[in-house]
Symmetry: C2
Subunit: 136 residues, 2 copies
């Protein structure tokens, strides 16, 4: 963590946050995580061993002009920011999936990642009388 | 790697595979990777530190009844299978994103992951005269 962004309207801390605290239309911003070259390479060696993710020298000769992070690495770091700052630490039950995932720009060593989450909709129901789903 | 599935109609090896070798309608199956408990915990400690991904004992008291892999971990292993078996090693230029990602069932320690890829469509064009995009 190299920097901290907190723009949120949550009225309760993450340890006491329940379904009713996620308000449709609310917007929350959190960050940052700096992504470092050695972590980019380590992640890609295991999960996405394409040359523009694993080899800084060879990556110079690719369309990206240098090393870039695997898109799955940036997605995973986005998840870390969600767990640290957004998802309830006492009531989150996981997610059924993602509607759309777009990698708009390459993420390079030294870049900082932050997130903006908008609660699009909430729907009561699920595994208990006080539970529900949020779409964000 | 604990097992090997290869059901593919590619006529050329991955080191010689170009855009024209990805035929719309073709189906390819590859695998498997076994997912182990220590890797589930290590991934989640960094990227998705929710108790059902990080603590085997505490996970027993959750809705999942035990440790499960982060969905981002299973997605990353899917990518590894794609890089090892599906994506050209000489012509792949990365991806703009994912249209839909669904985590249909929990993935537990010892489970084996394999993939089925269908080439839905191909579209010439892009960064060079012989390049194009495939949607799969």
């Amino acid at each position: 963590m190299t920097n901290t962004i907190h723009k949120t309207t949550f009225s309760v801390p993450i340890e006491k946050r329940y379904f009713e605290d996620y308000i449709a239309g609310s917007v929350h911003e959190f960050g940052c995580i700096m992504i470092k070259e050695d972590e980019i390479i380590a992640f890609a060696d295991r999960f996405d061993p394409q040359v523009f993710h694993t080899n800084p020298d060879a990556a110079k000769d690719t369309v990206y002009g240098g090393l870039i992070a695997s898109g799955w690495h940036t997605a995973a770091l986005m998840m870390r920011l969600c767990v640290d700052h957004y998802l309830s630490h006492v009531a989150s039950l996981g997610s059924p999936g993602v509607e759309e995932l777009r990698w708009l720009k390459p993420v390079c060593p030294g870049d900082e990642i932050s997130i903006r989450v908008t609660v699009l909709a909430t729907k009561p129901g699920g595994s208990g009388p006080c539970s529900g789903r949020t779409r964000c």
